[in-house]
């Protein structure tokens, strides 16, 4: 399944890049986060609570940076996790475009979801992903604003 989205952040591209390059900052914005640890090479492992329809429980997930290109402001992340009888893995491409008054954050995720979670209809999953992403970016926006103040 492919998911994609765009978001405009009222911060400078460099600030956004610095923020998202710090896994410990981004991870704290993940909704439902219960615990996490950051390891060597920006690898993050985390325990996250999920609730999609009748499926509720915690996921053990990890992310690692596959590619990071500061010059072009692009990055590729690999995510994987399992829980509540289901599993997922994803490759996420990120790109930051500089705008006159901020930064455009573009993301594209190629996600494989397995198990009961994967059997949910795509619109249901999309709705959940959308909600999570909105919450994540709201948090990032908030943190960026606070840090610039």
């Amino acid at each position: 399944m492919k998911f994609e989205g765009k978001m405009v952040l009222n911060s400078r591209r460099e600030d956004v890049w610095n923020f998202i390059s710090e896994p410990s900052k981004v991870i704290e914005c993940v909704p439902g986060l219960e615990e996490y640890s950051v390891e060597e090479g920006k690898r993050v492992t985390a325990k996250v609570k999920v609730s999609i329809g009748f499926i509720k429980g915690t996921f053990r997930a990890s992310s690692s940076v596959v590619k990071e290109d500061h010059q072009n402001y692009t990055a590729k992340l690999k995510l994987s996790g399992s829980g509540v009888g289901s599993g997922f893995d994803a490759l996420v491409d990120l790109k930051l475009n500089e705008l006159e008054y901020g930064t455009e954050f573009i993301w594209l995720a190629d996600v494989n979801v397995s198990g009961p979670l994967g059997s949910l209809a795509k619109p249901m999953l999309e709705g959940y992903v959308r909600k999570i992403v909105d919450q994540l970016f709201d948090c990032i926006k908030r943190k960026l604003t606070n840090s610039t103040i």
Partner: protein, 798 residues
């Protein structure tokens, strides 16, 4: 002959303990210092294990140890010997146990399993057994040649074939050349779960002196001991296996279990007892389930209805491990001919590894699969030949005493009366009489039938034994190993003892805890064999005890032994009932008034050993595989909603030739249970996998099981009693076969009414509706028209 206990509807004797809550299950076993185990399972279907990091898990308070497969690289198993205790170098399915956490509490163990990090290097996968047969398919077991397998099976190293079974009788090609009508069909059955109430659970305690004590929710004690002895190298007398009450088995607790793993965990934990309890989700994803199945059949008939050629190929999707399924593959192969005499037959049955859940036995053990194919072929052939399906069956039924099965076994004269079974079946379902018209015109009613035969799939030397000890008051302790997991066999066995000694049932005691040290031996309680094999062993033990009793009594009564009889708990001289001694005066030895004594405590022992069964020829499948054949038939009257695809069974009939019914109440319970299980698997059940091998419905919300509303209004059963001379009172087994005919009978009823083929299970509303739409769209359109007219009419009336 009139009996006091045999043939009586005696209620199951363990019912008291169950309804009063005093029955103890393995789940109730708690030992001092016991640890709890939880399994870390694979999240990928096929991969090399690169690294397992247990450091974070060990930091959880209460965690004692985390063990991984490399710590104990044993191979375990009964038939294929292919299984690891925990994944050693690679994982082979999503759900494969990779590591085990041992903790002081279940909560700590559950928390810690999430913290074990496993790094995988993914390998190419194969989920379909047909693709797994391709030479280019990824190999799931690279070192199959090293596995210690039973000589009855033929694994093919270098392929994904765990067992190849072949059978040839007659000349199939010649048969097809001579056939007037040829039918070719493909069939499919998905994986299903056993859905017993009590999930797999084990407690093991490895003692410092090397003795291993096991408590487990399993069907049989002896095979656990055997598997552990052969696989782990522990002497048999150092392994004590105890099975308390068990909440259902259905074959899913008969093969390889978790006992060896938990025993090793106990040792690894510093000789502390360990308990492992699977969750329902783990039961679906990490424990063995019933295999998936493909059947490819070609059948040739003469115009007059004679079935003269049958060429059939079965492919069993065994999943990642096939330890018990190789025997299912063998049984499905040699039961291919069902109840019919087919002179030319060729069978190939391949048990194939894939990257799915491992598989095992389920009630019926391959026979539901072979009959799903064959019994539908019969109806399709009947249609082509223009012969009534019942008549076609009558033409081809085996004739005991004359006919040979496909394995070349001549059926003994007293093997049963399949003709009579069919006659009774037709009469009870009202074959030939039209069904009543349903009230709603978008529904149709129809009748269908299927015949079947079943014998236990067991090695030729599978034996049983019984020990019978008298107490001072002439009550009896009966020591048997017969599994007691809800089927009621033990009650029937107690009835035999009560009958033979003329004692009230209350005087017979069976310990419901099976124990390898205290119970007698029986190979296994599977395949509907318990009453037959253990019943014979008990009868032999009774005869042995009677000899001892009559020897003492003949001295006391001064009468030859053959002039004595046992009546109502007394030894009497035949024809002189006043010359007698009560049993309690003899069974511990007889003491004369002056104190002189003779005899001693009476202990009877008896065994069962089949003398006519053989291994099957590895190339031709010829030989005698089974100790009896129970013939039976199922007929149904159904109503199909053409708009929704829903099937309602209005009436179900089961007719069985049981030889002799020992307990009609238990048979009725088996018939009801088997019919409903057959209905559930026939109409609803299916483990669904996604394209990455994950189970998407590992719970009872998404895995649809039969509900109260689905139960037929009427299930009736009849027995034909053709006693088998060497069976206990002539009886044969009943348990599994009550579900074999249900699904094909429903499919045949649908086909008769609609000419819609349903060669795939389950026949769910969705699948029936889809089949209707694809094969006969005009029927659905017509039904919709009728529905709209009916609705309009109702509205006008309002």
């Amino acid at each position: 002959m009139t009996f006091k206990y045999i043939g009586r509807p005696v209620p199951p004797q363990d019912g008291f303990y169950k309804v009063t809550g005093t029955a103890q299950y393995t789940l109730d076993v708690e030992l001092p210092g016991m640890l709890y185990a939880k399994l870390v399972t694979s999240t990928v279907p096929h991969a090399k294990i690169k690294k397992i990091d247990v450091s974070k898990a060990l930091q959880v308070p209460g965690v004692v140890k985390v063990v991984v497969g490399k710590d104990f690289p044993y191979r375990v198993g009964m038939y294929a010997g292919d299984r690891d205790l925990l994944a050693i170098d690679k994982v082979r399915w999503v759900g494969h146990p990779v590591a085990a956490v041992l903790a002081e509490s279940l909560e700590a163990a559950e928390k810690a399993i999430d913290l074990v990090d496993v790094e995988y290097e993914e390998l190419p996968t194969v989920f379909d057994p047909l693709e797994a047969l391709s030479p280019d398919a990824p190999l799931i077991h690279e070192k199959m040649e090293e596995y210690r397998h039973s000589p009855a099976f033929r694994p093919i190293p270098g392929t994904n074939i765990a067992n190849k079974f072949t059978l040839v009788k007659g000349d199939v090609e010649k048969g097809f050349r001579e056939a007037d009508v040829i039918i070719e069909e493909k069939f499919y059955i998905p994986h299903v779960s056993h859905c017993f109430m009590e999930v797999h659970n084990v407690v093991a305690h490895y003692h410092l002196d090397g003795t291993v004590e096991i408590w487990t929710s399993w069907q049989n004690v002896a095979p656990i001991r055997q598997i552990m002895a052969l696989s782990l190298g522990i002497p048999h007398n150092k392994i004590i296996v105890k099975i308390p009450y068990v909440g259902g088995g259905f074959g899913g607790k008969a093969g390889l279990g978790w006992e060896a793993l938990v025993a090793i965990l106990s040792k690894e934990a510093g000789y502390r007892p360990v308990k492992l309890v699977l969750s329902r989700k783990e039961q679906f994803t990490s424990a063995a389930v019933r295999e998936g199945f493909y059947g490819f059949a070609k059948a040739g008939f003469k115009k007059d209805g004679r079935f003269i050629a049958y060429d059939v190929k079965f492919i069993l999707d065994a999943g990642a491990y096939a330890d018990y399924t190789v025997n299912v593959g063998r049984a499905v192969g040699y039961s291919a001919d069902g109840c019919y005499e087919i002179p030319n037959i060729r069978v190939e049955s391949l048990t194939v590894y894939t990257n799915k859940i491992p598989t095992t036995a389920l009630r019926g053990f391959g026979y539901p699969e072979s009959h799903w194919v064959l019994e539908q072929i019969m109806d399709k052939a009947a249609e082509k030949l223009g012969i009534d399906p019942a008549e076609l069956r009558k033409i081809n039924l085996v004739k005991p005493g004359i006919s040979e099965t496909c394995t070349g076994e001549r059926l003994r004269e007293d093997a049963g009366n399949p003709q009579k079974v069919l006659e009774v079946l037709l009469e009870e379902i009202g074959w030939g009489k039209p069904s009543e018209k349903p009230r709603e015109p978008w529904k149709i009613r129809s009748k269908g039938l299927a015949l079947f035969v079943k014998g236990p799939a067991q090695p030729p030397n599978a034996s049983a034994s019984a020990i019978l000890k008298f107490n001072e008051d002439a009550s009896i302790d009966l020591l048997i190993a017969t599994g007691n997991f809800g089927q009621g066999t033990v009650t029937a066995l107690m009835q035999i003892v009560a009958e033979e000694f003329g004692l009230p049932l209350e005087k017979i005691r069976v310990d419901y805890i099976r124990d390898t040290h205290k119970s007698a031996y029986t190979w296994q309680t599977v395949g509907s064999r318990g009453l037959f094999t253990d019943g014979i062993a008990i009868l032999n033990a009774i005869e042995d005890a009677k000899k001892q009793i009559f020897k003492i009594a003949s001295e006391v009564l001064r009468c030859p032994e053959d002039h004595l009889e046992l009546v109502d708990g007394e030894v009497r001289v035949k024809g002189k009932p006043w010359e007698k001694i009560p049993l309690q005066d003899i069974v511990m030895g007889y003491t004369y008034p002056n104190g002189n004594s003779i005899g001693g405590p009476v202990i009877g022992r008896g065994v069962f050993m089949s003398t006519h069964t053989t291994y099957l020829d590895p190339e031709t499948g010829q030989g005698n595989p089974t100790i009896f054949h129970t013939f039976g038939g199922t007929a149904v009257e159904i109503e199909v909603n053409l708009l929704t695809g829903e099937v309602e069974v209005l009436k179900g009939v089961q007719v069985l030739d049981l030889g002799k019914v020992i307990n009609p109440l238990l048979v009725e319970q088996q018939v009801n249970g088997g019919f409903l299980m057959g209905l559930s698997i026939g109409l609803y059940e299916q483990i669904k996998f996604d394209e990455r091998g994950w189970v998407v419905n590992p719970n009872f919300t998404n895995y649809y099981l039969i509900r109260i509303k689905d139960i037929p209004k009427q299930i009736i059963w009849k027995t034909v009693e053709t006693p088998q001379s060497d069976g206990p009172y002539g009886a044969r087994g009943v348990g599994e076969l009550t579900m074999i005919g249900v699904a094909p009978a429903i499919a045949n009823a649908i086909y008769r009414a609609l000419r819609v083929k349903l060669n795939e299970l389950p026949m769910s509303p969705e699948n029936i509706w889809k089949a209707l739409r694809e094969q006969r769209p005009e029927i659905v359109d017509e039904a919709l028209k009728k529905f709209l007219e009916f609705k309009k009419m109702v509205e006008v009336k309002k």
